[in-house]
Symmetry: C2
DNA sequence: TTTATGGGCGAAAGCCCATAAA
């Protein structure tokens, strides 16, 4: 049975987190009560939920992995933090008639009944429709040389790596004992202009990764795709015999130049996300939703379009600073 | 009742895919039978499952979006292809007692029964435990200026964009009618050394993205995180007062130089994935699984470690050519 | 709690749910 949490009272922050005075209902009991002992003592045997953000007290970013960078024979103990967080809206599936969120039930189509987790094994499909059951202990025999280490294997230039290789980004923070080695790696990378290529195991998956300096004194790690995970662009069909006129290229280059700017990411916002939120808010408050008009079609001839684009950009520039460039076709 | 598929026979490849001669059991019927007509005709009314990879036959990359790049008033119609594919091993959940793959059934915990798809709506959780139902038509009122267009807003230098911004990569291929404009954009980007920053809607999500030249004559698009989705590395705790010795930096730089190489991605392979596959293969063939030994511990003192590392690298280099490491590269 | 991963789903890609880890 699920019960809800009641936190009535905070007390002195102490060490890692904040202790609580009272807590009435039970919910879940952590396997590793490392951060909970004060609380548990205070409650003398009452099993309690502590929500993690209360436990970690104020700490906005939580380490999701700990280990160390291995750089030659130098070891740099680090914590890993997610560098990005998706803000896209997510929805639940709702049962129309009663408004309840849908749940998934695991069923066996052969036995035609619900199946509990302890009746389930992991199977690898080695041949269409044929599965071998793989147990945890089978995989234990794999040499885990890189467990808990970010193993640097090479140093290369960042510009050499095509962005298609980049997967996820993580900030690395130094552990207390590794502050100096961390800074040393940062400074040395900065000085040489190199980035480190590394191998790292994160939760039973081996990643190719790179470690590079970020900002004033931080390190960031990108996990990377293996080369066989990057597809060959050559497979995309393209006509070989297309010729361009000198003049077309010249105009296109001119157009690019006139639209060149510095990369200032704060300029770009997710307008669709905002619009969705507005609609949702309106719906929650029972308002009407207005429908705006559509947009016009675009010019088609290449040279005409290039000329018209250039003229448009020029005209807008003449309007002077402070004017934001508008969409071409809407007008 | 669910039935399985039996494909007994392939026939002449024809147009988009490959048609099949016979198929005995029914399974699911696609809403859009565009690619199925030959097959369906051949079977005269028998409803059949065609797994997609059979249908698409030899075509390895399938376009997952079509639209056009809008560059000033120039329009470049393109198809979009995933540039990467994860090769990590995946497993199915298997019912232990009968070996059947598990399926999910959508249930309503309140009504306590199975729920069909047409009884399900999308709900946004605007407050803990409270949902507003959002219908497709609610979102239609959002101005979809960028629908089906990759709307170029700026041109910037690739080097200005920190890799943490990159999310997913997609190759763009020209539509038949847009070969010339496609090549023009490619050439102009190549010539100016710029990349295009764009906005694009993909499946009711607006993305920030960049378009850049790739290889000989292809364009690639990376979707990007919005700035508010990139966290502030400054939040990572770090000790301010750490000092490094000149000598330590010198040695670390030397170590990096001696481990510098060109980025040759084909050097790196997923050994863990391979090891897993070996074990699976062994299991399929009924072999024994061997357990290899562990590895040694590492040196701890920073200066000692740097020295020892340099010596180690030097020694390996003296072993002569054929060794993986390359000489320290330029600047 | 958040975050990542695993896994199923109407093809796929990405969305969704559930669970594990920290």
């Amino acid at each position: 049975m699920k019960k809800s949490l009641q936190v009535t009272n905070y007390r002195y922050p102490l060490g890692y987190g904040t202790s609580l005075a009272t807590c009435r209902h039970s919910y879940f009991f952590p396997k590793n009560p490392r951060y909970y002992y004060i609380f548990l003592e205070a409650l003398e045997g009452i099993t309690c939920l502590l929500t993690w953000n209360i436990i970690t007290g104020g700490e906005r970013m939580r380490a999701l992995w700990r280990g160390s960078i291995s750089f030659g024979l130098v070891n740099v103990p680090v914590k890993m933090y997610a560098a990005t967080e998706r803000k896209s809206l997510s929805f639940r599936q709702i049962h129309k008639t009663c408004g309840t969120p849908i749940r998934y039930e695991k069923v066996c189509p052969f036995c035609n009944r619900k199946v509990e987790d302890d009746e389930i094994a992991r199977g690898y499909e080695y041949e269409k429709g044929k599965f071998v059951v793989i147990e945890e202990k089978d995989l234990e025999s794999i040499p885990d040389e890189t467990t808990r280490t970010i193993d640097i294997v090479d140093f290369v230039d960042l510009a050499e790596i095509d962005p298609v290789y980049f997967d996820r980004s993580y900030f690395l923070g130094p552990e207390e004992t590794g502050q100096k080695a961390y800074l040393l790696l940062f400074e040395a990378l900065k000085k040489t202009g190199k980035i480190a290529i590394a191998k790292v195991m994160i939760r039973s998956k081996q990643h190719l990764a790179c470690v590079r300096p970020y900002g004033e004194n931080r390190l960031v790690m990108e996990t990377m795709f293996y080369p066989d995970e990057v597809r060959d662009a050559g497979e995309i069909p393209i006509s070989p015999g297309v010729k361009l006129h000198e003049n077309e290229i010249k105009m296109a280059v001119q157009l690019i130049d006139s639209l060149s700017a510095d990369f200032r990411p704060e300029k770009y916002t997710d307008e669709y996300r905002k619009a969705m939120l507005d609609i949702i808010r309106a719906k929650v408050e029972g308002e009407e939703i207005k429908v705006p008009p559509g947009r016009e079609e675009k010019v088609v001839d290449l040279m005409e379009a290039l000329k018209a684009s250039l003229e448009m950009v020029e005209k807008e520039k003449r309007k002077g600073p402070g004017v934001k460039r508008k969409k071409a076709a809407t007008s």
